[in-house]
């Protein structure tokens, strides 16, 4: 059975800290790996990764994929209280757009 596992389950840090969130996967027909941020209801898109070793960056957030070892990491530098959310990792398989999600990492950033 296809599986996506995220760690840690939850994390509490202080503003200014750097955090690393992990996502490992086992799927049959990998197409891409996506990261979403979920604050209250709607998950909001962060990154889509398809190629191994190529870092995607957006401001203080960055992510990289290792297709050989079947994992991805999401880094957040200089964390702010507004980064507090659940971060979801999902894998898309061919033919596409049927995402398998991990259980999420709950991040709390304290002032």
């Amino acid at each position: 059975e296809d599986k996506v596992v995220q760690s840690p389950l939850s994390l509490v840090v202080h503003e200014g800290d750097t955090v690393t969130l992990n996502c490992s996967y086992e799927v049959t027909n990998f197409r891409s790996l996506l990261w979403y941020k979920q604050e209250k209801k709607a998950p909001t898109f962060l990154f889509m990764l398809t190629s191994s070793g190529i870092e995607k960056k957006s401001g203080r957030l960055s992510s990289i994929l290792d297709k050989k070892e079947l994992f991805s990491i999401l880094n957040i530098t200089a964390t702010q209280t507004g980064d507090s959310a659940v971060y979801l990792c999902a894998v898309d398989e061919n033919p596409g757009n049927m995402l398998t999600f991990g259980g999420g990492t709950r991040l709390m950033v304290k002032p």
Binding site: Q6, K41, P43, M48, N94, P95, G96, M98, F101
Partner: protein, 116 residues
């Protein structure tokens, strides 16, 4: 442009009842997917529709059904509700539903269903 919209926001039903949830995709998007998110877990894929055809189905019982209309909006129906159906139901839209790098799924705010 408006994002993905869903209605209603919240819904309370009793066991055995039937429910219909609605989703309007982003303008220009032709694919709609439905996900169930139980509290404390990640979303779980239910259905994908593209151009009114079912393209994929997750591991859900036949009590769950869906359809897509000519204007690309979609409905999710759940019959014979069980307590375990209580969850946030999320709808996501994309242009073509192919999962290409240019075809990201965008999620709506969800419908919170409580079954008593």
């Amino acid at each position: 442009d408006a994002g993905v919209t869903q209605s209603p926001t919240h819904l309370i039903k009793t066991r055995g009842q039937q429910v219909t949830l609605r989703c309007s995709p982003i303008s220009g998007h032709k694919s709609v997917s439905w996900y169930q998110q139980v509290l404390g877990q990640g979303p779980q894929f239910i259905f994908q529709y593209y151009e009114k055809e079912e393209r994929g189905r997750g591991n859900f019982p036949d009590r769950f059904s869906a359809r897509q209309f000519p204007n690309y909006s979609s409905e999710l129906n759940v019959n014979a509700l069980l307590l375990g159906d209580s969850a946030l139901y999320l709808c996501a839209s994309s242009r073509t539903g192919t999962g290409l790098s240019t075809d990201t799924q965008y999620f709506g705010p969800g419908t919170r269903l409580t079954v008593l």
